[in-house]
Symmetry: C2
Subunit: 135 residues, 2 copies
């Protein structure tokens, strides 16, 4: 007997979830690259439209945390761009010197350069013998 | 009898696909917002790290196409950021005046502003009666 009421409730709850999904901002997880240039590790993070003033970078021994935000577009007709606050903690791919990070923000890309604790000594690859591991 | 050979072949093909997936760049579909400011429609596209010189914008009556590229990071240790060429064709949410687009690229966000064919006349919402539609 209560089934129509329950179905109606369920329908209303689904509608509410859909409305909440529509109104909440798209989650904001900026894409990151780690690159290596022998003496440094570089972190690059895509943060288009984020003010330098809103960015915070914190480093502990093993990880670096980047936080920031950008305002949501107003009078949105169709929206895909994430907005609001983001916070990402990334683990260093290899050990870096504490407090060696240097950050810059250019064309919406945040680059942070860390000194490696164990810089790589690069070896030119020409005329080197090839070693193969047996299976 | 041929089954071990087939299984081995299948395994090799799977491996090859995995290697190709790893080496191909992350697909590049910049997120887009459409906003409305009464007289204009604005398209905003997240294109961090893309040079203005590499951007191309083309408008036909119903759609606008944006293309561009950014180079892949070199000596990548861990990569999430898309790279290479992108091309997106977006349909105008409502009619715009042909050739009215004005583009700017700021902090990695491409903004293109189009004049609406039918500008909205905004009405202040205070003291307006509320109408409700019956079910």
């Amino acid at each position: 007997m209560n089934e129509p009421v329950l179905a109606r409730l369920h329908h209303l709850m689904t509608l509410r979830e859909e409305v909440e999904t529509l109104s909440s901002p798209v989650p904001w997880t900026p894409a990151a690259d780690w690159t290596d240039d022998d003496a440094h590790l570089c972190l690059q993070l895509d943060v288009p439209g984020v003010d330098a003033e809103s960015l915070e970078v914190q480093e502990d021994g093993e990880t670096v945390t980047v936080a920031g935000q950008r305002p949501a577009s107003e009078r949105l007709l169709r929206g895909e761009r994430p907005s609001g606050i983001f916070r990402r903690t990334l683990t260093f791919p290899e050990p870096v010197r504490p407090q060696s990070g240097q950050a810059s923000l250019v064309h919406g890309v945040l680059t942070i350069r860390f000194e490696k604790r164990h810089p790589t000594i690069s070896v030119p690859s020409s005329d080197l013998g090839r070693e193969e591991q047996g299976e």
